[in-house]
Amino acid sequence: MRYSALKILREGLTGNKGWKPVWREPDPKPEYDIVIIGGGGHGLATAYYLAREFGMRNIAVLEKGWIGSGNIGRNTTIIRSNYMLPGNEPFYEMSLKLWEGLEQDFNYNAMVSQRSILNLFHSDAQRDAFVRRANAMFLAGADAELATTDQLRAELPFLDYENARFPIKGGLFQRRGGTVRHDAVAWGYARGADARGVDIIQNCEVTGFDIENGKCRGVQTSRGAIRARKVAVCVAGSSGRVMAQAGMRLPIESHVLQAFVTEGLKPVLPGVITFGAGHFYVSQSDKGGLVFGGDIDGYNSYAQRGNLPVVEDVAEGGMAIMPMIGRARLLRSWGGIMDMSMDGSPFIDKTDIDGLYFNGGWCYGGFKATPASGMCYAHLLARDTPHPVATQMRLDRFKRGNLIDEKGQGNQPNLH
């Protein structure tokens, strides 16, 4: 079923009774070419691109609960490609370009909104680092723009320029950055994959891997055994838990990141704004809520909920840069589990077990990566070689000493 304004008109006139399920609810087949574990954004995107780009159709996506129930459904919806290091920036820029054509591509309005993202800076050293980053973005074909305080005053008059503890010295814009309706991304990919024959199987939990003589030949699930030529794990947040079933230890810790939304408000924020002297970033959704977040709670957790100190820390950051939000009310807070990796950067790689592939370690940056992650993982699964923009996202990089550490925090995941 193709979606269009005309279709809506026709359905509206006939009582909206003709809409069909957006994806089928098939039972699992006994065998697939590729089984993708995890019906989140990355898993669904991988299935979509395997079908669309590589012509593979005999694919299943196994989801423990309902699709989109992981971090694709509980993030702060930001897209951007403002990275610095060669191991990252080309990948994220490719992702942003995919976002830019995504909706027409899968015929689903995910409300990709390039409202811009702004990183404020508050010291000369921070400015220098941002200039380095901005120039790296240019070198990778992305856009970046430095703004002076005067420019910011004109564009964002509500920031605290007069009374700030850490005065705003300027900012780095990426105008092509912005926000996307996160759930719709999962649904759009699911719809596109399903239409191309991919089986999306909900309520199907993987309970073990069938590993024979060092080769992965399938999985055990709550809905029976499923054979596969290749098994692709894509469960960021739960990577540790799932890969432990294959006997693997990972350079990853699971941490909780909280996110917050206020009651709906008439438009106040034009784009995404991040504070450079504290933990706070914010945007406004199409519905009017201020969607914001800050630092991870900082301790290993699989609990999908956080604690008060971080809530307070984030609110302090918000009040520090935009004290006009004091009377806006926090409506809801939630937590997602992050695969925090040892250098803050992800993995898209084969494992030491033949036929078992791994995608994870996205820290709190997985949402914006969804299209490129799907594309690169599909590439790896279809061709068995890394996509050119993901050549450094390897599991053995720590052994070799090739780190992709954007923040320079080293092997302490909760600092990334």
């Binding site: 540790g240 990972l250 052994k399 995941p413 909760n414």
Partner: protein, 95 residues
Amino acid sequence: MIINHPLLGPRDAAEFVYLGDAALIERPDWQASDAAEAFHEYGYLRDNPAGKHAELWYHEQGDRSWLVVTRDTVTHEITSVEMARDVARARGRSK
């Protein structure tokens, strides 16, 4: 969260700084023949369990002691809190 400090009693976790798995106490022998591999595992690979996790917390806004806290990563329930120095000694570390 509240951490029941062995010497000071229950204290708000906001006074503490988290480091990670208490296996970080077990720093490998730098002279061993497999030191490079051992340090890679020590530095980078984690059990990351969903369940009981022995982990290091530092009482920065308190007595500056490092603690080994055993906490469930699913429920956050804390079942034991020990002085890390005692744990380190018990695990054979000296000087």
